[in-house]
Symmetry: C2
């Protein structure tokens, strides 16, 4: 299994075809997902029921020859396990019943025990691995400390996360205390996913790109590096490749590559060739087709897939993906066409 | 008047203090704006009534020692003048009654005559200039062709503008036809604003940053350059500094600086020092404090203003601004504090 093209590409080894998976591949664009989601009653119930999480994780693999499965879950499971009370309403987004803003509130937060407080996630990982029968590797994931802290402080989504930024500016020590406990929680959570069977790990730093450069280094990057270091010292996780995706933070690729991760996720606003030149052979790169391309014609999808492959060039170390999650309004057939195009256009002898 | 510190900074000449103005300085964070807006009945009526547009343009100048006024208007006046029927609802955003998607629909579009079809804007410019009594320069503005085309195709805001991108990918010739007529309209509109009295011009490429690099060059940058060239050949506009703000397009600063514009607007995800190193002395830079800083304490606002000034360094050619518009939830006193801090911290002898 360690010879699967997805894991080989993450190790920058030659592959027969460029591996491809798609962020949010188990999601609302699939009618079978919407059916399971309706049966679950709520998005959070879907995440918390291992059998249903397993079912939706496997759905896209039954349709398309994808090269990896990704655990169906949410980045906000950790704050939920810390007692914040997560709910997710369609078209509104995630919301916490309680926020965390003061030094006293932060002092009360503990690191959740993954096998106790987040057992449903670990059970889902084990079940999915069993059901996958080693067909493709399974990716586990978590949100970044900065991204989780944003939601914990605001209590919901925001276009600016001004409250989180204001706390960082006004009381950096308190912010670092929060980020510290969240980073330890993320590291423990990812290590437990590795122990439960995840064969690659990914951290989504969804809101890192909202930070000015100095703040990105202090409040996001530093904790991504701590997690990478922590996982390298963990028995189960040390040989599991870690992918960091700091959306909109293309100014910081070199620093992200220096964290010790195996690969960087990239959005579509940078060419893979330019990114590769900057990070050299330190990391593999994952990405970076604009998800909007899936609204264009078959010809455009093929030619854009070809362009992304050509941008990266004939080097080892590319995992094809979108630059952001697939959107609910995409026709699933378009995704099938993309996956086939990537495999066909990248076929080579090794 | 050409010796005002704002215009001197745009020409990269030494100034006694770093000039400062704020994107959306005439806006919802001001109670007096909300009162005038209520009197107007609608946002569009406010834009279309020169006396009221003048009134709100001047409101922030009565409160704060800002170094420039910016015409109160909307980037979507041009498509509205083309017959698309603009309405703007609070919390929903702009919407057109008609969209433009096909070759036939695009062929019907003409370049609006600014003094006829957009007379209310030209009248507002003339009235504001009269009422300003040369206290500070007046900035005129327009949306970029790509940004206007996004709204014209979608008919409203979007997180991805997938329809616009799909048209660009599937039928580039038709997209270029649309962008061509819009670019000619923007150039004529800005030239007319200059003739009516605008002393600086700004183009907001709000959605350029959503494009992959090749598409940015083909569908946004090319038309920004056309506008800059066109204005350089216009009698009224040729000596009027042009500021380009391509939000989220920091990968393209060198190319933007090569368009022939006088200055680049910058969001806060890049340090002004790094940007200055990349563009050299070709252009002035405008920006780039994170608007979220206005939610932090007075001390943090002052120290962040100091950091932005230090990032740029002791060179000529900096106009202080936020990296994006001021948000409606900001306490106006915080903005006063920022403006005073910028002036105090940047005072020098020339």
């Amino acid at each position: 299994m360690s010879d699967h093209r997805f894991l080989r590409a993450l190790r920058r080894q030659p592959v027969d075809r460029t591996p491809v998976w798609i962020m949010r591949q188990a999601g609302r664009y699939l009618p079978e997902y919407r059916a399971t989601r309706a049966r679950a009653g709520s998005f959070v119930a879907l995440c918390k029921t291992p059998e249903l999480a397993c079912e939706v994780t496997l759905q896209p693999l039954a349709r398309f020859p994808l090269d990896a499965a990704i655990l169906f879950s949410d980045i906000l499971t950790i704050p939920d396990a810390m007692g914040l009370g997560l709910s997710v309403e369609e078209k509104v987004g995630p919301r916490f019943a309680r926020t965390v803003r003061t030094r006293a509130e932060i002092a009360k937060l503990g690191v959740p025990d993954p096998e106790a407080d987040l057992r449903y996630v670990m059970d889902a990982v084990r079940l999915i691995r069993r059901e996958l029968h080693d067909k493709v590797p399974l990716i586990g994931f978590a949100g970044s400390p900065w991204t989780l802290a944003c939601y914990m402080i605001e209590g919901e989504g925001s276009s600016s996360f001004a409250k989180a930024k204001a706390l960082a500016l006004d009381d950096a020590a308190t912010m670092h205390r929060l980020l510290g406990v969240v980073a330890r929680s993320v590291a423990a959570y990812l290590a437990a996913q590795a122990a439960a069977g995840a064969q690659a790990l990914m951290v989504f730093d969804t809101w890192g790109g909202l930070l000015a450069p100095d703040m990105f280094r202090d409040f996001s990057l530093r904790y991504l590096a701590q997690i990478a270091q922590s996982l390298q010292g963990d028995k189960a996780a040390k040989n599991i490749p870690l992918i960091l995706f700091s959306k909109g933070a293309n100014a910081h690729l070199e620093a992200l590559a220096d964290t010790g991760c195996a690969a960087l996720g990239l959005d579509w606003t940078i060419s893979l060739g330019a990114a590769r030149t900057r990070v050299g052979d330190r990391v593999a790169l994952q990405g970076n087709l604009d998800p909007a391309v899936l609204h264009a014609s078959s010809d455009a999808i093929r030619s854009e897939a070809k362009r992304v492959l050509a941008d990266f060039g004939p080097h080892p170390g590319h995992v094809f993906n979108l630059g952001h999650g697939i959107t609910p309004d995409v026709d699933p057939e378009r995704l099938g066409l993309l996956v086939d195009a990537v495999h066909a256009l990248s076929a080579r002898s090794i």
